[in-house]
């Protein structure tokens, strides 16, 4: 039977970065991806910040950069705008990418580092030692069904993740921690080419927001995410998006050339992400930012830590959960505080009515705030409306 030090399940961005760093550190790595093509179909708004790219060793490449914006614009229910420029550190969106090309570029990096990638290979179950340690996977592929042994298996299988659950990690999250999302790639429109726009309010996106991320002067990703707990009728997400577009002549005249749907985890961090012989990374580990719903950055940051931990584990010959805790401690140190704070802010935000949102954004638009950080925003709002911030004062 084939044996690898590390089997990575899922070739999304977090999986490819994990595989790359594990392979660079000398591990033998097999990456299994059930799709026939890495990165396609796209399930993403394609907006990323630039600030974390260097940290995970990704080279900026014009092949996957669609469009650069100056900053972000928050729009209140009454239409008041608050703009923030990306050059001021902390901004969340600066570059709109071609996600399919981006994912392929990352997979290419992983393969060049020595990882092996197999497509059309769905992992259907885990295998265990008698002790309970995960020691491999069962795969369905073009070659038929087979088993592969591994020192450790990494579940980087996205929002739909089963690997964690099969391995005994509880990754279930509550309806108010799940976003139902849909997006149209629209052409023949004139989006504001300089800003990624976010529209708040119960009319457009209860418990979430509508985004317009320009991909060029004449095209954009227009999408909506609403909390599952706010869905009344099946298909609400699509109805909200259609309503938003219907109400805006500059979008209504556009044409849709791609539909994207998906679920986004917006929960607080999980209690555990490792077991003996098993790690979870990226959306599978619910590391997505619960406020912005951006998951690419955190998945890649955690993936690097996972890959480095795994290459050490190979050298030590130790894939026990106590050794793999290095990964868990590492990602928590780097991401947990922000994830937790932004989850609290999300919890607060979903309870706000349109009136309050209008007040908040008008405070911000009059302020000289130059940083899109939750901390700065709350601080600014507290000056004028202390009662709005009182319940989450401890965040500050």
């Amino acid at each position: 039977m084939e044996e690898f030090d590390v089997v990575v399940v899922g070739a999304g961005p977090a999986g490819s970065i994990t595989a790359k760093y594990a392979a660079m550190g000398g591990a033998t790595v097999l990456m299994l991806e059930k799709r026939q093509e890495v990165g396609s179909p796209v399930r993403c708004g394609e907006g990323i910040a630039r600030k974390w790219i260097d940290e995970v060793g990704i080279r900026l490449d014009k092949r996957w950069i669609a469009h650069e914006v100056k900053g972000a614009k928050l729009v209140s229910p009454d239409g008041t705008e608050f703009r923030i420029d990306e050059e001021h550190a902390g901004s969340e969106v600066g570059t709109i990418i071609e996600r399919d090309i981006f994912d392929k570029a990352l997979a290419e990096d992983a393969v060049k580092a020595g990882a092996e990638l197999r497509l059309k290979s769905a992992v259907r179950s885990l295998t265990f030692e008698e002790s309970g340690k995960v020691n491999g996977v069962k795969v369905e592929s073009l070659e038929g069904t087979y088993e592969v042994k591994a020192g450790a298996v990494v579940g980087v299988d996205g929002f739909e993740s089963q690997i964690g659950r099969w391995g005994g990690i509880n990754t279930s999250i509550k309806p108010n921690d799940i976003t139902s999302a849909i997006q149209y790639r629209m052409v023949d429109i004139e989006p504001d080419p300089d800003y990624a726009e976010f529209f708040l309010g119960t009319t457009w996106a209860p418990g979430g927001y509508v985004w317009i991320f320009p991909k060029s002067e004449t095209s954009a990703n227009v999408g909506v995410g609403i909390l599952l707990s706010n869905v009344n009728e099946p298909g609400d997400a699509r109805k909200y998006l259609n309503k938003f577009i219907e109400n805006r002549p500059y979008l209504k005249k556009g044409k849709v050339i791609e539909i994207v749907s998906g679920g986004v985890p917006v929960s607080a961090p999980l209690d555990e992400t490792v077991k003996d012989g098993l790690l979870l990374v990226g959306d599978a580990a619910r590391q997505t930012n619960p406020l912005t719903r951006g998951g690419i950055a955190n998945g890649c940051i955690a993936g690097k830590i996972a890959g480095e931990t795994l290459s050490e584990a190979v050298k030590e010959g130790d894939f026990s959960s106590s050794f793999l805790m290095r990964y868990e401690n590492g990602w928590r140190e780097r991401l947990e505080e922000e994830l937790y704070r932004d989850w609290m802010a999300k919890e607060k935000l979903i309870g706000l009515n349109d009136d309050t949102l209008n007040k908040m954004i008008s405070v911000l638009s009059e302020s000289d705030i130059d940083e899109l950080s939750v901390y700065r925003i709350l601080e600014e709002i507290r000056k004028r409306y202390p009662e709005l911030v009182r319940e989450i004062e401890d965040l500050l």
């Binding site: 026939q36 799940i178 749907s261 679920g263 985890p265």
Partner: protein, 57 residues
């Protein structure tokens, strides 16, 4: 019981990640629902394109 309208399903896995009892799997282009489904209906609600319906057994 959950019925899948295959002509609407986008194979995005929003339902699979939402299912609280692991009763679904998305095998790339085919969504599978298993017998341990508890008819909670969360998958029906989370589906962004209303491809799932609950039918009485």
């Amino acid at each position: 019981m959950i019925r899948i309208d295959v002509s609407k399903c986008m194979h995005c896995g929003a339902c699979v990640g939402t299912c609280p009892v692991n009763a679904m799997f998305l095998n790339d282009a085919a969504l599978e629902v298993y017998d341990n489904c508890i008819d909670c209906g969360l998958c029906v609600k989370v589906c962004p394109v209303a491809a799932l319906t609950m039918i009485k057994k």
